[in-house]
């Protein structure tokens, strides 16, 4: 039962990832892509935590934390760049 | 001077708390590394904001903090259900606008928390912060009037944050 729920959750997250990826590819503007990128990273963090659960390895949680940190910095830097880039 | 020292100490304590939570142990060697790293960061960034900067450590402030998080989580769930209803309905019933609201909060951390809270709650997104004025994007605008919008968006959080940070 629980395994089944975990698989369901993972597939829902996968579909969400594909939807955000569609927006990322479609654009049309750079800001739309950055928003899509932000959402993609949030979904990926959930994905990493789900992998940690499936594999039973707590070390992956550290990976998720560092990934969250780096993607946050990345989005801030890209946003600052967009403000004065054009 | 005293205030800066206090802010640095608060930043140091917060960093150390996060380090201990991250390592999940209180062994001497990890603690020494954590103390050294937190000390260096607190000295390098004397203006660094941390979670408890400018927090008024009174019993009333702690109580307001708990109530604030309860209220915040309630609003977060409510906001998501509202947005979910908008997203799944075929006609996409949105009515957006960018309104201007005013806050009474004076402290930096209080204003930051307010802007964050507004961003995560029902259909509102802080676009620009300028002194006591906030510009807020509203998915379903209810009023363009400054006072009415302030009462609707800001008042609920301000009530708690005023006690916590001032």
């Amino acid at each position: 039962m629980v395994d089944w729920l975990i698989y369901l959750a993972a597939s829902l997250a996968g579909v969400a990832f594909l939807l955000a990826l569609a927006r990322f590819i479609k654009g049309p503007k750079a800001t739309d892509r950055v928003v899509a990128f932000d959402v993609l990273t949030i979904i990926s963090i959930t994905g990493i935590v789900l992998v940690a659960l499936a594999e039973g390895r707590a070390i992956y949680l550290d990976v998720a934390l560092v990934y969250a940190l780096l993607s946050f910095l990345g989005v801030i830097v890209i946003a600052r760049y967009l403000e004065r880039g054009f | 001077m005293m205030r800066r020292l206090r802010d640095s100490l608060v930043l140091f304590a917060t960093l150390l708390l996060f380090w201990v939570m991250l390592m999940g142990s209180l062994a001497a060697d990890t603690l020494i590394v954590g103390v050294m790293a937190s000390l260096v960061i607190a000295l390098l960034f004397p203006d660094g904001l941390s979670f408890f900067t400018e927090f008024r450590a009174t019993p009333r402030a702690f109580l307001a903090g708990f109530l604030y998080y309860g209220y915040f989580l309630k609003e977060l769930v409510k906001s998501n259900l509202t947005l979910a209803a908008i997203v799944v309905s075929p006609s996409l019933p949105i009515d957006p606008g960018i309104v201007k609201v005013r806050t009474r909060l004076k402290s930096r951390m209080g204003r930051l928390m307010l802007a964050n809270s507004i961003t995560l709650t029902p259909g509102t997104l802080t676009v620009e912060l300028e002194g006591e004025w906030l510009y807020v994007h509203w998915v379903r605008m209810e009023s363009a009037d400054i006072d009415a919008a302030t009462a609707r968006i800001v008042a609920g959080f301000e009530h708690y944050l005023e006690v916590m940070y001032g």
Partner: protein
């Protein structure tokens, strides 16, 4: 007892990822960048928090680290969406035709 907690955790995870799905859907359907930020980041923040809570039910020994990730997301997600919204407004990103009013643009117009 443990079995019931497991089921609750699984259901929380499914609810959380359902919100992720709604966030993705909002990202596709909304007409302009501000509405996309709203639909995208809000739903995914709650979705992540619910999923983390579900994992915490299944693995109580991971609670501290999951709390840390949750707090971190709770603080950084609104910040990055605010910075993005500000950048979009500063470079004059198009607003949906339905947008009724823009006080920020009005005030900026007054100053210049």
């Amino acid at each position: 007892m443990g079995a019931i907690l497991d089921i609750i955790g699984g259901l929380l995870m499914v609810a959380g990822t359902a919100f992720l799905l709604l966030g993705g859907l909002g990202l596709i359907r909304m007409p302009d960048v501000y509405n996309r930020i709203q639909a995208g980041t809000k739903a995914t923040t709650l979705g992540t928090l619910l999923t983390l809570a579900g994992v915490a039910c299944l693995r109580p020994e991971w609670l501290l680290k999951l709390l840390l990730i949750g707090f971190f997301m709770l603080f950084t997600n609104p910040l990055s969406s605010q910075v993005l919204a500000r950048a979009a407004h500063r470079i004059g990103e198009d607003k949906a035709p339905a947008t009724r009013i823009d006080r920020l643009a009005e005030d900026l117009g007054d100053k210049s």
